[in-house]
C-alpha cells in the first residue's frame, strides 16, 4: 500500500513545521491542503499559539499521535477565499480556528452546540478528516476549514494576543459558565498560573468573581495579583495557608495536567462547591469520598467548548479587553520554545509569528 504522500494528497501546496517522531523536534515540512470546498473558508495564517497540548502531542505522551504531526490549534489569520455556500465570512475577514475542524453535525451534542462532545469530533491536527486524510494544524502558512468551525476575531482584539483564546480561552470560559461559576460575587479558585490559568483569572474577574490563585510557586504571587487581577494567592504546599482557606471557595478550575492530590482542593470548597478539571492527568487521581458526600460537592471535567460558545467567548473577551499575555516568537525558535515550555518558562503563552517568519527553506 502506498502511504499518503503529504505533498501530493491534496491540490493546494502548503508549508509548515512538523514533528517526525516522538523526540518532538519540529522541522520544515511540505504538505498540501484540500481545495476550498463549497462550505470551506481558506485563510492565510498570521499567528498560531503554542498550547501545552502541542508539547504533549509532538512527544506522543498520550499515545494518540501520528507522524508527521503539524501541531497548532490556536490559529488566527485573514480570509483569502470562501466557498460558494459560505455565508458568514468574506475575503479579508479576521478569523480563527481552535481545537476542532469537524464533527458529525447530527447527534444531540452537535445539535445542542456542543460539538466538542460529539463522539466523532475531528481534531484540528493529528485527527482524521471526513475524507480520510490526516489533519494538519496551524504551525503552517494556510488553513482550509469548514465555516462552521471558524470564528470571527473581533476587531477590538489584536490577532497575536487573541490567538491563545482559541484554546486556552474557551477551555476556561466554558466551565465557568456551565458550572455556574460566572455569577458576580462568587469566589473562584484557579489552580495553576500558566497559559490556561492566567486567562482563567481574567475571565473570572470579568464575570464578577472574587479570584484566588492556587499555585505551587510562591514567586508567582505578585504577578497573579498585580498583573492579572487576582484577589488573593494560596501556595498549595503551605499547609497553614490551605487550612485557613478551607471551605471558602464556591468553585475551583484546576488547570494542572500533572498528577496531583485533589483532596486539599476539595477541602477548599464550600458545601455544594465544584472542582472542575480542565487539565487531564494521565493517571487516575485519588478521590476521597467522604468530603464529597458530606458537603454534596462535585468533581467534574470540561474540554474546550462548542463553536457558538467559542464565538461568544471571543466577543466577551473583546468587550472586557481580555487577551493572553504572550511572547511572540519566530518560527525558527519553536524548538527552543518547546523546551522552555516544558520547564514552565514562559509568561504565559508563546505565539508563533507565522506570516512573517515561517518560510520555506
Amino acid at each position: 500500500m502506498v502511504a499518503n504522500q503529504p505533498e501530493k494528497e491534496h491540490p493546494m501546496p502548503a508549508f509548515g513545521l512538523a514533528a517526525r517522531d516522538p523526540s518532538g523536534v519540529l522541522s520544515p515540512f511540505n504538505f498540501s491542503r484540500r481545495a476550498t470546498g463549497e462550505k470551506d473558508v481558506k485563510f492565510k495564517v498570521m499567528y498560531c499559539g503554542i498550547c501545552h497540548s502541542d508539547l504533549h502531542m509532538i512527544k506522543n505522551e498520550w499515545g494518540t499521535s501520528t507522524y508527521p504531526l503539524v501541531p497548532g490549534h490556536e490559529i488566527v489569520g485573514e480570509v483569502t477565499e470562501v466557498g460558494r455556500q459560505v455565508e458568514k465570512f468574506k475575503v479579508g475577514d479576521r478569523v480563527g480556528v481552535g481545537c476542532m475542524v469537524g464533527s458529525c453535525r447530527s447527534c444531540d451534542n452537535c445539535s445542542n452546540g456542543v460539538e466538542n462532545y460529539c463522539p466523532k469530533m475531528i481534531l484540528t491536527y493529528a485527527g482524521t478528516y471526513h475524507d480520510g486524510t490526516i489533519t494538519y494544524g496551524g504551525y503552517s502558512d494556510v488553513m482550509v476549514c469548514d465555516e462552521h468551525f471558524v470564528v470571527r476575531v473581533p476587531d477590538a482584539l489584536p490577532l497575536d494576543a487573541a490567538a491563545p483564546l482559541l484554546c486556552a480561552g474557551i477551555t476556561l470560559y466554558s466551565p465557568l459558565r456551565y458550572y455556574g461559576l460566572d455569577k458576580p460575587g462568587i469566589h473562584v479558585g484557579v489552580v495553576g498560573l500558566g497559559g490556561l490559568g492566567h486567562v482563567g483569572v481574567k475571565f473570572a474577574k470579568a464575570m464578577g468573581a472574587k479570584v484566588t490563585v492556587i499555585s505551587t510557586s510562591p514567586a508567582k504571587k505578585q504577578e497573579a495579583i498585580e498583573r492579572h487581577g487576582a484577589d488573593s494567592f494560596l501556595v498549595s504546599r503551605d499547609q497553614e495557608q490551605m487550612q485557613a482557606a478551607m471551605g471558602t471557595l464556591d468553585g475551583i478550575i484546576d488547570t494542572v495536567s500533572a498528577v496531583h492530590p485533589i483532596m486539599p482542593l476539595i477541602g477548599l470548597l464550600k458545601t455544594h462547591g465544584k472542582l472542575v478539571l480542565v487539565g487531564a492527568p494521565e493517571k487516575p487521581l485519588e478521590l476521597p469520598v467522604f468530603p464529597l458526600l458530606m458537603g454534596r460537592k462535585i468533581v467534574g471535567g470540561s474540554c474546550i467548548g462548542g463553536m457558538k460558545e467559542t464565538q461568544e467567548m471571543l466577543d466577551f473577551a473583546a468587550k472586557h479587553n481580555i487577551t493572553a499575555d504572550i511572547e511572540v516568537i519566530s518560527a525558527d525558535y519553536v524548538n527552543t520554545a518547546m523546551q522552555r515550555l516544558e520547564k514552565g518558562d514562559v509568561k504565559y503563552r508563546f505565539v508563533i509569528d507565522v506570516a512573517n517568519t515561517l518560510q520555506q527553506a
Partner: protein
C-alpha cells in the same frame, strides 16, 4: 465524674448496644432526656438495619464511641409531645431518620438543608446540644426535637416503610438535586442492596428507564421481574458493559466498598453524572480523561433535609413504594449483622422492636 448512661437522664430506656469494635450487640440499660417543650417522646415499633450501622459498630470509619446504640430508620408512635409541639400529638405515627439536631440558624438550616449544617447531629454515635451521647433506634423509645420528626403516612406499613428514613431519602434527594427526574432518561443504579432496590422503585415512579449494574448475576430476575428495572448488567461481564458504553444519562452508585469508577464513567453519555452514595473507607481512583473529554461529573450526596424527607415519604406513599424487608427479632440482630456483611438480605433487615425487645 461522668454519669453513667443509666443515670444521666430521667427517662429509663433499654436497647442493644455495641461495646467495642467487634461490633457485637448486647442488651444495654440507659436513659433518655426529659421530654422538653420542643420534643416528642416516641415508643419505637420498628427500626431498619442500615449498612452504615454495620460500618459504625465496627468502627470502620474511625470515629466510633462506645457503648453505641445504632439505628436511624426509626418508626413508632408518639407517647408525649412538648408544650410547643403543634405538628404531632399522642398516638401519631412518626419516623426519625439520620439526624436529631442541627444549629437551626445557618444558611443551610434556613434552606431546609439541615443535613449540610456544619453542626448537624447524627441520631447515634454523636453528642447532643446538652453534651450527652446520642443513642439510636435499636431501643424501646427515643426523645426527639419535633423538627427532626416526620409524619408517617397512614397508608404506609410501619415495617416496610422504616428503611425509607435513610435509604429512601438517600436516593431521593440526589435524584432531585442532580436533576435525575426527567421521564424517559436513562438511569443506571450500581448495587442492588438496601439503597439500590429502593432507588429502582423511586426511579421508575419518576418515569425513568432503569438499568441495574451488579456483580451478582443471580439478582437479574429480581431486578427486572420484581423491582421493575428495564435492564441488568453484570459488572464483571466486560462485553455487555462495553456494549452499554455511552448509554446512560446518570448513574447512582450505592456501593460502599472500594470499586472501579472507570467502567461506570464510560457507561455515561457526555455531560452525564455519576453520583456516589456509598462511603468506602479508602479513596477511590478517579480517571480524569473521561471526566474532561466527556464533561462528566462525579458528585456526592448525604441523606436529605427534613422537608425533603417528609416529601419523599409522601411521594412513596402516593406511589405505594416501600422497602423489601426481612423482619427480625432483636435477639437475632447479631446474626443479621453477619448476614448483612455478606449482603445476604433481600434487601433490608427491620427489627421488630416493640414485639421483641425485652429486658
Amino acid at each position: 465524674m461522668a454519669k453513667s448512661p443509666e443515670t444521666e437522664h430521667p427517662q429509663k430506656a433499654f436497647g442493644w448496644a455495641a461495646r467495642d469494635s467487634s461490633g457485637v450487640l448486647s442488651p444495654f440499660n440507659f436513659s433518655r432526656r426529659e421530654n422538653g417543650d420542643e420534643d416528642v417522646t416516641i415508643k419505637i415499633h420498628f427500626c431498619g438495619i442500615c449498612h452504615s450501622d454495620l460500618h459504625a459498630i465496627k468502627n470502620e470509619w474511625g470515629f466510633a464511641h462506645y457503648p453505641m446504640v445504632p439505628g436511624h430508620e426509626i418508626v413508632g408512635i408518639v407517647m408525649k409531645s412538648g408544650k410547643n409541639v403543634e405538628k404531632f400529638r399522642e398516638g401519631d405515627r412518626v419516623g426519625v431518620g439520620v439526624m436529631v439536631g442541627s444549629c437551626m440558624s445557618c444558611d443551610y438550616c434556613n434552606q431546609d438543608l439541615e443535613n449540610y449544617c456544619p453542626k448537624m447531629i447524627f441520631t447515634y454515635n454523636s453528642v447532643y446540644h446538652d453534651g450527652t451521647a446520642n443513642y439510636g433506634g435499636y431501643s424501646d423509645m427515643i426523645v426527639v426535637d419535633q423538627h427532626f420528626v416526620v409524619r408517617f403516612p397512614d397508608t404506609m406499613p410501619f415495617d416496610a416503610g422504616a428503611p425509607l428514613l435513610c435509604a429512601g431519602v438517600t436516593v431521593y434527594s440526589p435524584m432531585k438535586y442532580y436533576g435525575m427526574t426527567e421521564p424517559g432518561k436513562h438511569l443506571g443504579i450500581v448495587g442492588l442492596g438496601g439503597l439500590g432496590h429502593v432507588a429502582v422503585k423511586i426511579a421508575k415512579a419518576f418515569g425513568l428507564k432503569v438499568t441495574v449494574i451488579s456483580h451478582s448475576p443471580g439478582k437479574e430476575t429480581e431486578a427486572v421481574d420484581r423491582l421493575g428495572a428495564d435492564g441488568f448488567l453484570v459488572s464483571s461481564d466486560p462485553l455487555k458493559i462495553k456494549a452499554a458504553f455511552g448509554s446512560m444519562d446518570y448513574i447512582i452508585d450505592t456501593v460502599s466498598s472500594v470499586h472501579a469508577l472507570t467502567p461506570l464513567l464510560a457507561l455515561l453519555k457526555p455531560n452525564g453524572k455519576l453520583i456516589t452514595l456509598g462511603l468506602p473507607d479508602k479513596p477511590l481512583e478517579l480517571p480524569m480523561f473521561p471526566l474532561v473529554l466527556g464533561r462528566k461529573l462525579v458528585g456526592g450526596s448525604d441523606i436529605g433535609g427534613m422537608k425533603e424527607t417528609q416529601e419523599m415519604l409522601d411521594f412513596c406513599a402516593k406511589h405505594s413504594i416501600t422497602a423489601d424487608v426481612e423482619v427480625i427479632s432483636m435477639d437475632q440482630v447479631n446474626v443479621a449483622m453477619a448476614r448483612l456483611a455478606k449482603s445476604d438480605v433481600r434487601y433490608r433487615f427491620v427489627i421488630d422492636v416493640a414485639n421483641s425487645l425485652s429486658k
